[in-house]
């Protein structure tokens, strides 16, 4: 589902500019499938499905396939319109080192929203 993430993020010059000081590796979990995302200076460098066990990453954001489908609707329903709405309701989890996530929160929210209406 995230095959187009690189194009969507790297094609958004303003998003890349806002992430220019960010280099990080994290996981987006969609149902049972993990996707390892590597960010280098604001660009999505790699998107790797099902990384090997114990591949290093700083934090993970996970939700069910259905929750992400709702989240990526062009106009999401209440409760699926924001990652924190989903974590508060228990539809998503964010775990790991929160510092890079919170220090670049707008970037990560925009990255997560990039597939909205696109997949």
């Amino acid at each position: 589902m995230l095959n187009r993430l690189s194009d969507l993020v790297n094609g958004d010059a303003d998003l890349v500019r806002r992430g220019q000081y960010l280099t990080a590796t994290f996981i987006i979990g969609i149902g049972d499938t993990d996707w390892l995302i590597e960010i280098r200076e604001g660009q999505v460098a790699t998107v790797q499905p099902e990384p090997a066990l114990m591949t290093p990453s700083q934090f993970s954001i996970r939700a069910s396939e259905n929750a992400w489908r709702e989240f990526w609707q062009p106009v999401p329903l209440p409760g699926f319109h924001d990652i924190f709405a989903m974590t508060k309701s228990g539809d998503a989890t964010v775990e790991g080192d929160f510092q890079p996530f919170m220090a670049n929160l707008r970037y990560f929210k925009d990255l997560l929203a990039a597939p909205r209406g696109q997949i």
């Binding site: 106009v75 209440p78 409760g79 924001d82 510092q99 919170m102 929160l105 707008r106």
Partner: protein, 286 residues
């Protein structure tokens, strides 16, 4: 409502400063006002300022019956924090918030004002209606409830390795409804992007830790002080369920607003007024 000049338009809103003492400390409070009639005092959300009410302050359909007044709490907007702020942690409490509002209204000689507050402002109006019903003509709680479980660690809002303004704005950005116009979404977020360090966190002390009114809202006598509660369906901080539960205890009907989030008056003012105008009409009639 605007006045045309040679080169631009001057709004009718007038901004002034009021010097008074709150909790024994001199404070210089910035407020804006427009209109004439029933005083309508507007309380901004935690970590932002009274700019949120600029649309109400230029709404001709309101200003012909209401004197709209919106002030910045100390440390917010153009109200400086009190002297000595640099050596202490800012913490808002029910007691301090209540005193600030009552002293402000008394200093302006407002007679039985209507108090309208959003979020933490919506929380405190419940306390005002319960504790001081004779002072207020009515209260309107926007995104208001008697309590919310704390659901995240507030320390992220003020620490040196995370930009405070950026994180506060990014955090609350999801509370704006997806349907709200981009222009007003980002105007709303500017209040957070530009707020002082630790201010949002200190306000949230009141909101999360010092305003559990669950046992008290049932005591509100709406004959003495009518209460109106209005909440946007996209608000996952103060959820429609939180507001409905609170309204049921008070014995009133809550208004759940479609396609609005946590900041109705600033995120989508035109849409919000379709819900607000009937409430104001009812208050004006009473």
């Amino acid at each position: 409502m605007k006045v045309s000049g040679m080169m631009g338009e001057i709004e009718q809103t007038i901004g002034r400063y009021l010097n008074l003492e709150i909790s024994g400390r001199p404070c210089r409070i910035y407020f804006e006002q427009a209109g004439a009639g029933i005083p309508l005092v507007c309380l901004h959300t935690a970590g932002s300022d009274a700019t949120q009410y600029r649309h109400l302050l230029s709404d001709a359909g309101i200003l012909d019956r209401f004197q709209v007044i919106a002030f910045d709490m100390p440390g917010h907007g153009k109200s400086l924090p009190p002297s000595g702020y640099h050596d202490e942690e800012y913490i808002l409490t029910t007691e301090l918030y209540t005193e600030t509002i009552r002293i402000f209204c008394a200093a302006l000689d407002l007679e039985n004002p209507v108090i309208m507050g959003c979020s933490m402002g919506g929380r405190i109006v419940l306390h005002l209606a319960e504790a001081y019903p004779a002072e207020f003509r009515a209260v309107i709680g926007i995104e208001a409830s008697d309590y919310q479980e704390p659901w995240y660690d507030r320390d992220w809002l003020n620490r040196p390795d995370v930009h405070g303004g950026e994180v506060c704005a990014a955090l609350i950005s999801g509370l704006v409804a997806p349907q709200s116009p981009d222009e007003y979404r980002w105007e709303t977020l500017w209040g957070y992007l530009s707020s002082g360090p630790g201010i949002f966190k200190g306000d949230l002390h009141f909101y999360r830790a010092d305003s559990d009114y669950r046992d008290r809202v049932a005591r509100i006598d709406t004959e003495k002080c009518p209460v109106y509660l209005m909440t946007g369906e996209y608000d996952f901080s103060c959820t429609p369920e939180d507001t409905l539960r609170t309204a049921e205890k008070i014995g009133i009907e809550a208004i759940i607003m479609k396609e609005l989030g946590h900041f109705p008056m600033s995120e989508n003012p035109d849409h919000f007024r379709t819900y607000l105008m009937p409430v104001l009409a009812e208050i004006a009639k009473a």
